[in-house]
């Protein structure tokens, strides 16, 4: 049972508190994950460090992309017209698939990126997100590609917190899409997938990312599929071959679905997001 709820007013103060209390402290923003898991995952936590008063609630557009403050609520991001266009649509759609208004009002992007089995990591990996991190050693940025080490295990060091999520700018003729198979919205997804595709003027794929979730404890890049598609015609034939590279994908089995069912859904989800991203890259919906 937590003994302290502290609300630092500066980033330095927050980092000092996290360092001081070590394993006994966690940063909280929305608090949804902490409160729903305090009896199983967070029994050792005694100090809650509220990071909502550090000015980290914003969506900024720069010349080279987007910067979203770590404690921006998913609901705020969902309302943003900037995030609902071009390559960034996958972020909007991913939040849409979370579906539950109460959770979106409370949860933040910074918190959601920790849920390696959730929706936001998949969406953010698709758009080459980077995390700005502050800690005892100062500030640094890290590619989200290097962030996930295991279930709820990340590359954050002691006393470090994520302050901002950065997304680069993408060329026009870039489309992105998100798909999710779930039983109920309150549960983790069974399988989800996201894709971002950039097409050249003659319908060749100049850049692609395909990310799968739910098949393992951490998000998975469908790298073989990506390699097949890159620098190739974005045609039905090539897309079919790309999806076939998932034939030997081994997926986890649990009470929600067998590995076999997940594998089938993973392929269906990838097909759906590739086609939709392609349509969007060409200016459709």
């Amino acid at each position: 049972m937590p003994m302290e709820y502290l609300s630092p007013r500066t980033l330095d103060e927050a980092v000092t508190l996290l360092q001081k209390y070590g394993d006994k402290a966690i940063p909280v923003a929305g608090g949804t994950f902490f409160m729903s898991h305090r009896d199983d995952l967070f029994t050792e936590v005694e100090v809650l460090v509220d990071i909502k008063k550090l000015g980290l609630d914003y969506i900024k557009t720069h010349v080279d992309g987007l910067a979203i403050g770590a404690v921006t609520s998913l609901a705020s991001i969902l309302k943003s017209a900037t995030v609902n266009q071009g390559a960034y649509r996958v972020i909007h759609d991913g939040i849409g698939e979370i579906e539950i208004p109460e959770i979106r009002n409370m949860a933040t992007l910074g918190g959601a990126v920790f849920m390696s089995t959730g929706d936001m990591p998949i969406a953010m990996l698709t758009v080459n997100a980077r995390l700005a991190i502050s800690g005892p050693g100062g500030s640094r940025t890290i590619s989200l590609d290097e962030f996930y080490l295991g279930f709820l295990s990340t590359a954050l060091g002691p006393g470090e917190i994520v302050t901002e999520i950065q997304v680069p700018i993408f060329p026009s003729r870039t489309g992105s899409a998100f798909a999710k198979f779930k039983r109920v919205a309150v549960d983790v997804p069974i399988v989800n997938a996201a894709a971002r595709v950039t097409l050249s003027d003659n319908n060749r794929c100049s850049s692609v990312r395909i990310v799968l979730g739910g098949v393992a404890d951490v998000p998975l890049r469908a790298e073989k599929a990506e390699r097949l598609l890159a620098d190739n015609d974005f045609s039905d034939e090539i897309i079919t071959k790309a999806i076939a590279t998932l034939d030997d994908l081994e997926c986890q089995s649990d009470i929600r679905a067998s590995g076999e069912l997940r594998q089938r859904w993973a392929k269906a989800a990838v097909k759906r997001v590739l086609y939709q991203a392609g349509v969007r890259a060409r200016g459709g919906d």
């Binding site: 049972m1 937590p2 003994m3 302290e4 709820y5 909280v28 929305g30 608090g31 949804t32 409160m35 729903s36 898991h37 305090r38 809650l48 509220d50 909502k52 609901a75 579906e99 539950i100 208004p101 109460e102 959770i103 009002n105 409370m106 109920v184 919205a185 309150v186 549960d187």
Partner: protein, 161 residues
Amino acid sequence: MSRAIKLTVNGDEYQLEVDPGWSLAYVLREKMGLTGTKTACGKGTCGSCTVLLAGKAIFACLKIVADCDGEDILTIEGLARGNQLHPIQQAFIDHSGFQCGFCTSGMIMATKPLLDHNPDPTDLEARATIAGHICRCGSYPKIVQSMLSAARQVRETQQGE
């Protein structure tokens, strides 16, 4: 170490000493006697604890009350005006939008922000609004009917004004 907070609930101001580990649901129910908000699961997976904070739906069981200093909360008890039920409450009665009633306050509280922002929701939009709500009795069709009827009622009232 407890924290002193000021909380407005259904228009009434409260000054409280709260423990860091307390949820808003706990304080509403156990300290204020407002038991209309239910805690069927206590971990944000059933929707029975939905209340409004600054007009937005949240799960009270997941909200750290120490973080609610200065906030404006609306619970089911705050919807009616004296003996006059809110149109959403009336709609749920008129359309039998409940059986045991345990999920009902959550369903009604979730409906309010929907109607505040979307006066003419579709069936799918109503269902998405209650995506985080479980009705163990299976009243979903009637619940959705009640939500859409409430929307109609609110629209007609506003048109009449």
